[in-house]
Symmetry: C2
Subunit: 119 residues, 2 copies
């Protein structure tokens, strides 16, 4: 039960597409990640996923359109919906999602991360 400072936690790592866990509640994880470039198209069979942009502007591609999520905005991607995050410049995001969520979802991609580190 200590305050968690997002800026300070984000200073602790610099790699992209490798989320860190910063909180857990109600079977959900709070994660921070740095994104740059194009991720893989994927979906999560069971998990809805929230992306809150802490800095930068994130493009979220869907099969039928693209949304831009700016700093101070969030988007919720429901389970089963194919999406691809694209960050033309580095984007810092906070994620809220079930603790079972794998970053690459149902897809096969070398950037898959499991057993994420707590910071």
């Amino acid at each position: 039960m200590k305050p968690v400072n997002l800026t300070e936690k984000l200073k602790l790592f610099s790699d992209h597409w490798n989320p860190r866990i910063v909180g857990a509640l109600n079977g959900q994880h709070v994660k921070l990640a740095k994104l740059k470039g194009e991720f893989v198209w994927h979906s999560h069979a069971e998990e809805d996923e929230l992306f809150l942009v802490v800095s930068g502007a994130l493009k979220m591609e869907f099969r039928d359109r693209t949304e831009v999520i700016k700093t101070g905005e969030f988007i919720i991607v429901p389970a089963g919906v194919e999406h691809r995050p694209v960050a033309e410049s580095e984007v810092e995001v906070l994620l809220f999602e079930p603790d079972t969520t794998v970053n690459t979802g149902e897809s096969d991609d070398p950037r898959k991360r499991e057993d994420l580190d707590w910071i």
Copy 2:
């Protein structure tokens, strides 16, 4: 699946201790609230609760100590832990908690809010 802008949503209301719902995922709600003054001591029997401070500085009193959560910081209050939010000046917060959570928890207080509005 549209971006939600926290600042724009916060402009839509001005009353205190009356959370609004701005998102739902995985049985959880994302809420925004404006806090000012001292709330009631309470706990939530089943629900962990996350407070992310969007503006201002929130004091979270526990029975054995007080934490100050500043803008850009969050705190998680586990189920069953008595707490009292205190905002000496107005504080804007994002809440992430199960959709069953009632703001006043197990306590009896006139500021109890149920059937929250979506904005």
